[in-house]
């Protein structure tokens, strides 16, 4: 494209960071209709407004989601993008690919779509950006024939995602890829056929570093942790110190509970594990010398979400520790209990956090069968406004009866 034609977008071809405008241009070289995307986008840059219409129901046979319908307000001026639907394709767990698989997806998308993608969408899917209604079904059929399937959209389970986990990280305390895959294939119906009050997201992080942002970005965050002692190899600590790592400044001073001691003379590190909160900092700094313990499992935090509707939420600890072994029946049972409660009690477009806040954490925990634990809270409540059940109490005594009886006796 000539820079005169799209002067504002051309500004974004300059500079060292790879340019998304050049990526769109690349598709336009092969597919003339993609020039209309540049045209529409340039118009958005001029007018500071989107020219995409609101939704539109399109899908593939048997599915209620996975395709986002998109139509242009500039259909006449930019006919090439008059219909420009997105297909969400479920990524393999951990975003690993063979080039063969990637080329297959590219070939299918070159044939049936715009040739433009997001690697990846915010939830984790491969996003195939822009195709027409008639192309949706054949594109899906071809993807399915090659082993790929659509992800979630609408009021459904959204595509679960996981950090790199045990595939390439020594910190992984749970098998994030396997848990992610297992949940995805178990809940295909929930993923493809929206049936809930609103969206629901799973994310799986291997350790408290949370590289997949599970705590903020999923209704049901599964985060690896451990309960026993950090394994210390003092020989390796010594080597780090000799290489110039200032153990006091880098490690000891940064320990949030001050449970680490460093003997400068003996070059020895000691950890008071009874006061360790398993934050990962010391392990992050000294990966050769320190390792998490062997009593491993996951913390389950629930309710993480973005500001719509009642403000943003960082996931709340519901289960402080859970052992996770395939086929993860305990995890699935927990998730299904949550969904049952949400189905029964959730209002339209109410995310899990908003439901929990409305009905109360106490009632929620009871409904899903989770025992109370001090690790679920930052601090106890400051008010005594709570509910009791009949079985907690002795038979009700009527104060009026007491007083009237007393009056009679006088």
């Amino acid at each position: 494209m000539s820079n005169e034609e799209f002067p504002l977008l051309s500004e974004l071809k300059k500079g060292p960071w790879p340019s998304f405008v050049k990526e769109i241009e690349k598709t336009a070289e092969k597919k003339p209709e993609m020039k209309d995307l540049l045209k529409q986008l340039e118009r958005s840059y001029e007018d500071k407004i989107t020219y995409w219409k609101h939704g539109g129901i399109v899908s593939v046979k048997g599915y209620g989601g996975g395709v986002i319908g998109r139509y242009s307000f500039l259909a006449k001026e930019c006919p090439g993008v008059a219909e420009f639907h997105t297909m969400r394709v479920n990524q393999p767990a951990g975003w690993f690919y063979t080039t063969k698989a990637l080329r297959t997806i590219c070939d299918i998308w070159e044939k049936y779509g715009s040739g433009l993608t997001n690697m990846h969408g915010s939830t984790g899917d491969i996003i195939l950006l822009g195709t027409t209604t008639p192309n949706l079904q054949p594109c899906f059929n071809e993807l399915a024939k090659n082993g790929f399937d659509l992800g979630g959209s609408g009021s459904a389970l959204r595509t679960p995602s996981a950090c790199v986990g045990p595939a390439r990280c020594e910190f992984a305390l749970i098998d994030t890829l396997d848990i992610c895959h297992e949940l995805t294939v178990t809940y295909q119906d929930e993923l493809h056929r929206p049936m809930w009050p609103y969206k629901f997201k799973f994310k799986v992080a291997g350790c408290p570093n949370d590289c997949v942002a599970s705590k903020a970005r999923s209704d049901f965050a599964i985060v690896g942790t451990w309960r026993d002692e950090i394994k210390v190899n003092n020989e390796e600590v010594k080597k780090y110190a000799e290489q110039g790592v200032d153990i006091k400044v880098q490690v000891v001073d940064n320990c949030p509970t001050k449970c680490i001691e460093w003997d400068e003379e003996k070059k020895e590190l000691k950890i008071d594990n009874s006061n360790c909160v398993r934050c990962m900092h010391c392990i992050n700094v000294l990966p050769k010398a320190l390792r998490p313990g062997d009593d491993r499992g996951a913390v389950i935090l629930m309710g993480g979400k973005a500001p719509i509707l009642e403000g943003p939420v960082m996931g709340w600890v519901v289960v402080p520790f859970m052992k996770l072994e395939p086929p993860y029946d305990n995890l699935k049972e927990l998730a299904e209990n949550v969904w049952d409660f949400w189905d029964e009690n959730g209002k339209f477009r109410e995310r899990l956090a908003e439901l929990i806040e409305r009905v109360g954490m106490m009632r929620f925990l009871e409904a899903i069968g989770v025992e109370p634990d001090p690790r679920q809270i930052k601090e106890p409540r400051t008010n005594p406004f709570y509910f009791w059940k009949e079985e907690d109490l002795k038979p009700r005594v009527d104060p009026w009866e007491i007083w009237r009886k007393a009056e009679k006796e006088m």
């Binding site: 500079g15 990526e23 840059y45 690919y97 070939d107 433009l116 399937d149 493809h192 960082m314 477009r349």
Partner: protein, 365 residues
């Protein structure tokens, strides 16, 4: 009736099993990694208990990729990585190598394609590069954005490019951009987050509302009770005094857009983190309630982010993230040191605001 043979309809198969996608060195050492080192910016070495080594070369991408670029990237993965590669949770491409001698030739080729190597951090030595920006769709494909997303990312990463290439920051800094409050990018727990906001109420088109909206659910979906149904005219009335422009109504009902090109803009939030390392994970807080939506390069936004980043980088102790720096110096000093105007909108008046007011006489002057 058609006489064509009926093909079996394949559906609900889920994604390919991840094990089909793992390179042999990963498969052989799955769950048995021992430690890692950062060899240089953008290059990680992971060593397994078996002694096997895998080198990861991290490459920044704009997330929006054409299939032609993906195929060029595949060519490199075929040449250097036996036909395997991965992507990260922050839109980077990662090449996984077993032959150390191939690292530099790969870097040369991938940078020739226009994709920079970097975005890593060496926690052992407290040297951190800026990671790639997580972001949403914007004007390229979304129907609700208050701002673009890819454009501000490009403008910012051009400006902060050296921090991506060099591990010259004292701690992790994660920047994220969401083009509206729906936040499909869920950027609300980032060190620095940018959010597209509206500042004027929806404009109701009665006819479109009648044709396309379900009144009760739209009305019920307003978090401040600013909507009421006008049953006689089968439309919705907005109490403009109560509206705080979240846009939830427009998400549900196409008849009431909030777009206002000269009033929409960007809010900046800081001090979120997701890792529990050192201090607990927490949400980001609004420090700049509004900056203008100024394409193609959003100079006011870029300038403000640079100021925040530089003030923090100049002062932070090793590993200290923006949230932890603010813990140490206090919010009043944050505004002083960054030169950001403290505006009244920053004081919370939504739900839960009582927990954000200071209840102590401890402050810094």
């Amino acid at each position: 009736m058609s006489s064509e043979p009926v093909e079996e309809y394949i559906s609900d198969i889920g994604p390919p099993h991840y094990s089909e996608m793992l390179p042999p060195v990963i498969k052989n050492n799955y769950g048995k990694w021992k430690y890692h080192e950062v060899l240089k910016p953008g290059v990680l070495l992971h060593v397994a208990e078996s002694g096997d080594k895998v080198y990861s070369v991290r490459v920044g991408s704009p997330r929006l990729l054409s299939v032609y670029t993906i195929k060029e990237v595949c060519d490199l993965a075929d040449k250097y990585c036996d036909g395997y590669l991965r992507f990260t949770s922050r839109n980077n491409i990662e090449f996984l190598l077993t032959d150390e001698s191939k690292i530099d030739p790969l870097i040369e080729e991938v940078e020739k394609l226009g994709f920079p190597v970097g975005g890593t951090w060496d926690t052992t030595n407290a040297k951190y590069a800026l990671s790639n920006i997580v972001h949403t769709q914007g004007w390229i494909h979304c129907h609700t954005p208050a701002i673009d997303a890819s454009g501000p990312v490009k403008a910012l990463m051009d400006e902060l490019f050296d921090h991506f290439k060099n591990m010259d920051l004292p701690g992790l800094c994660r920047i994220s951009i969401a083009c509206c409050l729906n936040m499909c990018g869920a950027v609300h727990a980032s060190d620095i987050s940018l959010v597209g906001i509206h500042r004027t109420p929806p404009v109701v088109d009665d006819d479109v509302v009648r044709r396309t909206c379900e009144l009760p659910s739209t009305v019920a979906g307003c978090p401040t009770g600013a909507l009421r149904p006008d049953m006689k005219n089968k439309t919705i009335k907005v109490d403009e005094e109560k509206c705080m422009y979240c846009g939830n109504c427009y998400t549900m009902c196409p008849g009431m857009p909030l777009f206002d090109p000269e009033n929409g803009g960007v809010a900046i939030l800081v001090g979120g983190k997701l890792s529990d390392a050192r201090s607990p994970a927490r949400l980001s807080k609004v420090v700049v309630p509004y900056l203008p939506n100024n394409p193609p390069r959003w100079p006011e936004v870029v300038d403000t982010i640079r100021r925040i980043l530089e003030a923090w980088a100049a002062e932070a102790k090793p590993h200290e993230r923006i949230a932890e720096w603010i813990d140490r110096i206090g919010w009043e000093k944050f505004f002083e040191k960054t030169g950001i105007d403290f505006r009244v909108q920053v004081i919370d008046d939504f739900k839960g605001s009582r927990w954000t007011f200071r209840t102590t006489t401890q402050f810094r002057w």
